[in-house]
């Protein structure tokens, strides 16, 4: 079974600075997706960034980028120029891409989350 570990329960960053959130995962599969989701107090999970394991290039979405190290099974999120609106709980998640979806479906496996606080 796949597992996702977020070792930082809480992180703080000064506004306009850069912060990196860590995530490691365990799997025996070679084809999968990794995600970072943001959950503000409004509760809705918002997709921040997605990485496909078969792509070597690290994904980037504006101020958000990842450092994907497949051999090390590491998937960290870097937030540049942090803004007050970035304050939230951040979850790392794994999804298999190898199963036959229409027969077995594919679940997301989440880490425990990291609370990000942004100081003004």
């Amino acid at each position: 079974a796949q597992t996702v570990t977020q070792s930082q329960p809480e992180m703080s960053v000064q506004e306009a600075e850069t912060v990196t959130l860590s995530c490691t995962y365990d799997t025996s599969e070679s084809d999968y997706y990794l995600f970072w989701y943001k959950q503000p107090p409004s509760r809705q999970m918002i997709l921040v960034i997605r990485q496909e394991a078969y792509k070597q290039q690290n994904a980037t979405e504006n101020r958000f980028s990842v450092n994907f190290q497949k051999a090390a099974k590491s998937f960290s999120l870097k937030i540049s120029d942090s803004q007050l609106g970035d304050a939230a709980m951040y979850f790392c998640a794994y999804r298999s891409a190898e199963s036959r979806f229409q027969e077995y479906g594919n679940k997301l496996v989440f880490g425990a989350g990291t609370i990000l606080r942004v100081k003004s």
Partner: protein, 114 residues
Amino acid sequence: DAGVTQSPTHLIKTRGQQVTLRCSPISGHKSVSWYQQVLGQGPQFIFQYYEKEERGRGNFPDRFSARQFPNYSSELNVNALLLGDSALYLCASSLSDLRDGRYTFGSGTRLTVV
């Protein structure tokens, strides 16, 4: 296009009662998944439905059941509620395409069991 909608937003139930939570996916999405998020933890997978059939089930007791309707909306039922069932219940919808890999979540239903 409307996002994933869940109802109700909040619910208080007594131990032993039964509850039904509802979810409408994004238009065109045929898969619906349910997750339980206990306070301070990451979401845990409960069910996934695709084309009205169960495609996956997490490690939850038989008190939890779900179904998907022809319009792809879904209901999650929980019988004989326990205090430990208090949580945020999230619904997520996705395309059926395996290569897409993206889920869109609703804002959840906050269930409190007293």
